[in-house]
């Protein structure tokens, strides 16, 4: 099990970086940069700038999101911030406030 899970009672105030998938069920404030995928689950509260390859959000995110591949805002998510990625999916029921930028140069 090489995956990282931040459980629902965990609160992190700082920076998270790494090379593997990350699942957040708890609270993260600060900055997240990953070379793989990030999953912000329904119980999660993220107040952070996010730089990842892919991100899938069902929980709450406040902060700017930059993905090299894809950003997926699922139903029931709440996202406030700017989103930049070559592919952006916003599901019906998602709540989102911010700018969308799909004009990524290396694509």
């Amino acid at each position: 099990m090489a995956n990282t899970i931040i459980g629902s009672s965990i609160i992190i105030d700082g920076e998270i970086s790494g090379d593997e998938d990350l699942v957040i069920q708890g609270t993260v404030k600060g900055k997240i940069s990953l070379k793989e995928s990030l999953y912000v689950e329904a119980s999660a509260v993220v107040e952070a700038d996010i730089e990842v390859q892919n991100v899938e959000i069902t929980g709450r995110v406040t902060g700017n999101i930059a993905a090299t591949d894809k950003v997926e805002l699922k139903a029931d998510c709440r996202v406030v911030g700017d989103v930049r990625a070559p592919r952006i999916l916003i599901a019906d029921g998602a709540s989102f406030k911010g700018n969308v930028d799909m004009d990524v140069k290396d694509r």
Partner: protein, 209 residues
């Protein structure tokens, strides 16, 4: 609380910091934490910290139990126990009513177990007088059983996290082949009655595509 939990198990109930992950800052929580990567800064848990052989914790740690098989640089305050296993390496001070150092572990620092008191687990005469040098320490009334059985609904005693500024190194990322299987969403973790603003919500267990 989950009676099924094995000590150091890979059960999805604990929070796991994977081998390539670096967290620098403050981390707190009410569940077990397994570190296979790196945590720098400050760490406080009302439950058990497990530092696996690949794990590095450079932080001041305040937990209920700590099991160190990796590297810890910093002080550990544990309300129950600290164990350095055969592979454990630590530099820093330990303050805990029970401290176990296994042959093969390496350690440099102070150990403070507080005053000697009779332990429920081992019947031994507690009649001996303690020489000076002892510092008074707040400790639980009775020594608990080994943390292997993490099923006790003990009144988790949150310790004041050791306030110390974080000195974190530059983020370090080890190259590694990513792309492992998607994580299994863990079942809802136990919800201890404890303070803490977030994380009290039910976890939605859902399937990843």
């Amino acid at each position: 609380m989950a009676a099924t939990k094995e000590f150091g198990a890979t059960g999805a109930e604990t929070t796991v910091i994977g081998p390539s992950i670096l967290i620098s800052g403050k981390l707190s929580g009410d569940e077990d934490l397994t570190v296979r990567g790196r945590v720098e800064g400050e760490l406080s848990l009302t439950r058990t910290l497990i530092v696996e052989p690949s794990g590095i914790v450079k932080a001041n740690v305040s937990v209920r139990n700590a099991i160190v098989s990796g590297v810890v640089v910093g002080n550990i305050t544990a309300s129950e126990s600290v164990e350095l296993t055969r592979e454990g390496r630590m530099v820093g001070d330990i303050r805990s009513p029970r401290v176990i150092i296994v042959d093969g572990a390496s350690f440099r620092g102070r150990v403070d177990m507080g005053n000697a008191e009779p332990r429920a687990a081992n019947e031994r005469p507690a009649s001996q007088t303690r020489p000076a040098l002892t510092r008074p320490v707040v400790r639980p009334a009775a020594a608990p059983p080994r943390p292997v059985v993490a099923a006790r609904p003990a009144a988790a005693k949150p310790l004041p996290p050791a306030a110390r500024p974080v000195v974190s190194a530059a983020p370090r990322v080890e190259p590694k082949s990513g792309g492992d299987a998607k994580p299994q969403p863990p079942p809802p973790p136990p919800q201890p009655v404890l303070v803490g603003e977030a994380g009290k919500k039910k976890v939605l267990v859902k399937k990843k595509k």
